[in-house]
């Protein structure tokens, strides 16, 4: 069953939104997301992968309604979010939650742990006041934080523990769908493994659906069912994790995979596979966004944008296929 569907989503941000700039028509736009479509089935983990500035976090935030889409539709359980009433949208907030990247800035430093978790519970009337404390203790137990820490402040915890508190807060709404925006990239390696294992356990226990946003491919391979590779606000390749990791097809996916450091006993001789930088998202290039760094680029790549095409059980956007 499709839980979430995203259709031709676009999100542009104005850089210079002053009255004068508008009058002179000098208002330039950052093209963060440029027409993205995908769907997520219930109980599944879809990962959005790409380098910084590719629009992966923007997609996550737009789905949760933190940004208004510039164009396109997002549907939840078959119903378009833009056509929902205010009350329905408020109810939807319980069902869709977020885990943030930075456990230092995503918790209010002036609130105690119990208040951090209590706030969403009260505003959405999840449990009665009498049951509240037990409910919070149970949540903390689920994420592996000692119940005696209820009256502590965030700064008294380590990064990994803070991330656990953030996870408890999003679980408090009994969500079906969670956007996890780089939930482990701010943590140390040995702690990353703890949090990854926790997320997978919680997914099994509560039948959660994840949109997992990350740049670390080995982590993505570990946690996902399906993977979407993004570049400059477009999906270049999307499909089953097993297929993509067994044989990446798009030139950018290949380059990305070759750039990841791997544990090895032999010294690597050749490192970089891609030259140059990602183009400026204010002035998007003509044709395929990747052509300036692609060694297979031909004339058609400079002129026409490739659409996603079905190849070997997945979808790839490249003219060279």
């Amino acid at each position: 069953m499709k839980l979430l569907e995203v259709n031709n989503l676009k999100k542009h941000f104005s850089v210079n939104d002053s009255f004068l700039a508008n009058l002179l028509n000098k208002n330039s736009q950052v093209h963060a997301v440029n027409g993205v479509s995908f769907s997520i089935n219930k109980g599944e983990t879809l990962s959005l992968v790409g380098e910084s500035g590719c629009g992966k976090s923007t997609i996550g935030r737009t789905i949760l309604g933190l940004y208004e889409p510039t164009e396109g539709e997002i549907s939840y359980c078959g119903k378009k979010i833009s056509q929902m009433s205010k009350k329905e949208k408020f109810g939807l907030k319980e069902k869709m939650q977020m885990i943030f990247q930075d456990p230092f800035s995503s918790l209010n430093p002036r609130q105690k742990v119990k208040d951090i978790i209590k706030e969403p519970i009260r505003s959405h009337d999840i449990v009665s006041r009498e049951e509240e404390k037990d409910y919070i203790l149970n949540l903390l137990d689920k994420v592996g934080v000692d119940g005696s820490y209820l009256n502590r402040y965030p700064h008294q915890f380590s990064g990994g523990q803070r991330q656990r508190i953030g996870i408890a807060r999003s679980l408090s709404m009994e969500p079906d769908f969670i956007v996890a925006d780089e939930p482990i990239s701010a943590l140390d390696v040995s702690i990353q493994a703890q949090i990854l294992n926790l997320l997978m356990d919680l997914q099994d226990e509560f039948d959660l659906t994840f949109l997992f946003i990350a740049h670390d491919l080995s982590v993505v391979k570990h946690i996902s069912d399906r993977v979407a590779i993004m570049y400059l606000g477009k999906i270049f390749e999307i499909g089953d994790k097993k297929d993509i990791f067994a044989e990446p097809i798009h030139p950018y996916t290949k380059a990305l995979f070759n750039s990841i450091p791997e544990l090895t006993t032999t010294t690597k001789e050749k490192f970089s596979v891609l030259s140059g930088d990602v183009p400026d998202p204010i002035q998007l290039p003509q044709g395929c966004y990747f052509h300036s760094r692609c060694k297979y680029a031909e004339e058609i790549c400079l002129k026409e944008k490739p659409e996603l095409k079905e190849v070997n059980g997945r979808k790839v956007a490249c003219h060279q296929l």
């Binding site: 390696v189 990854l196 080995s218 450091p261 791997e262 090895t264 050749k270 970089s272 891609l274």
Partner: protein, 333 residues
């Protein structure tokens, strides 16, 4: 083949005096660096790896203090020379690459000015000669149209280009040792690969030695000759890369290797290391890892934390590993 030792560090102790107590950030480490070698220092945040790097250049400010130890650079003890002479070595003979290129470049000077400054200060170049050399250096680190880029400010460059400029500045005075503190952590993987490849080529050509400080064991395994693993201010394992990666002796190193998800292997759950690193204010006696260790024995709380020989290219503080190795040799004998 025995290569020339360019840097010898003995019993280096760097402590920070805070109002909560003394933080023993680096607690008596010993290691050396050979000419043309790449030494990787690996550890989690708080392990003391960056403080070790900063201590080598005496870049520790109060409340921090280098309490003890000697840092011999080509036979000369850097701890014993005066500030003036240290300034001649720092940045010229031993230079540093920092993690965040935006913070290590001066935002109000053009990158040309910053390169020329280094060349004039350390090598006494004339302005014109320094300018020409600066363009050459930018070209060498792969910055296109370097003449034009000389006039740009750091904020006009992308993260990868900024780090290329930092590499160019570090190489400007033709140093013998470069200390790189997480030089690619702030960059994307494809850009990381570019910078690492660049650094490696430039160093190989000049026989420069490199100390590469990072938390990323996989990255280090791709470039280093030897690896040094730090935990809570101690070196807990030290040796050739081949030996450490294929045969880690210390349970912490084993845990680190196991907690990295491997791309071409399917695993359902990751092996994790329980718990957290002990607070640096309150370090336990004996082995500092023992509260998290699954292999601990009664001996561990009396461990002297000295490196014990596993084989010719491999040392570890873990007594368990040492015992095992002895039994192995006895068995063979």
């Amino acid at each position: 083949m025995q290569r020339e030792k360019i840097l010898e560090v003995k019993n280096l102790k760097t402590f920070f005096n805070t109002k909560d107590g003394v933080i023993k950030a680096v607690n008596g480490v010993n290691f050396d660096l050979e000419k043309g070698e790449i030494l990787g220092i690996v550890g989690e945040s708080g392990a003391g790896k960056s403080v070790t790097g900063f201590s080598l250049l005496r870049l520790i400010d109060p409340p921090g203090e280098i309490l003890e130890g000697s840092i011999k650079f080509k036979g000369q003890d850097l701890m014993k020379i005066n500030k003036r002479n240290m300034n001649k070595i720092r940045g010229k003979k031993i230079s540093m690459i920092f993690q965040d290129p935006m913070a290590s470049l001066n935002p109000v000077l053009t990158i040309g000015q910053q390169l020329i400054e280094v060349l004039q200060f350390h090598l006494n170049y004339s302005r014109k000669k320094a300018r020409n050399r600066a363009v050459e250096l930018l070209n060498m680190v792969g910055i296109s149209s370097p003449e034009k880029r000389m006039k740009h400010y750091p904020n006009q460059l992308s993260g990868g280009m900024r780090q290329r400029v930092v590499v160019a500045i570090a190489l400007a005075s033709d140093p013998e040792v470069i200390i790189a503190d997480e030089p690619t952590t702030a960059l994307d993987v494809t850009i990381q690969a570019q910078i690492i490849g660049l650094m490696k080529n430039l160093i190989k050509d000049r026989q420069t030695s490199l100390i590469f400080i990072t938390h990323d064991l996989a990255l280090v395994s791709e470039i280093a000759d030897r690896i040094l693993v730090m935990y809570a201010g101690d070196i807990i394992e030290y040796g050739s890369k081949e030996s450490i990666i294929s045969n880690p002796a210390h349970p912490y190193t084993q845990g680190l290797i196991n907690s990295i998800p491997v791309l071409d292997k399917d695993q359902k759950r990751l092996k994790q290391i329980k718990g957290l690193m002990p607070s640096p204010l309150d370090l336990p006696e004996g082995c500092k890892f023992r509260s998290r260790c699954s292999k601990k024995t009664d001996y561990c709380k009396n461990n002297d934390n000295k490196l014990k020989k596993i084989n010719n290219n491999h040392y570890s503080t873990c007594s368990e590993a040492y015992q095992l190795q002895k039994e192995l040799i006895a068995g063979v004998g």
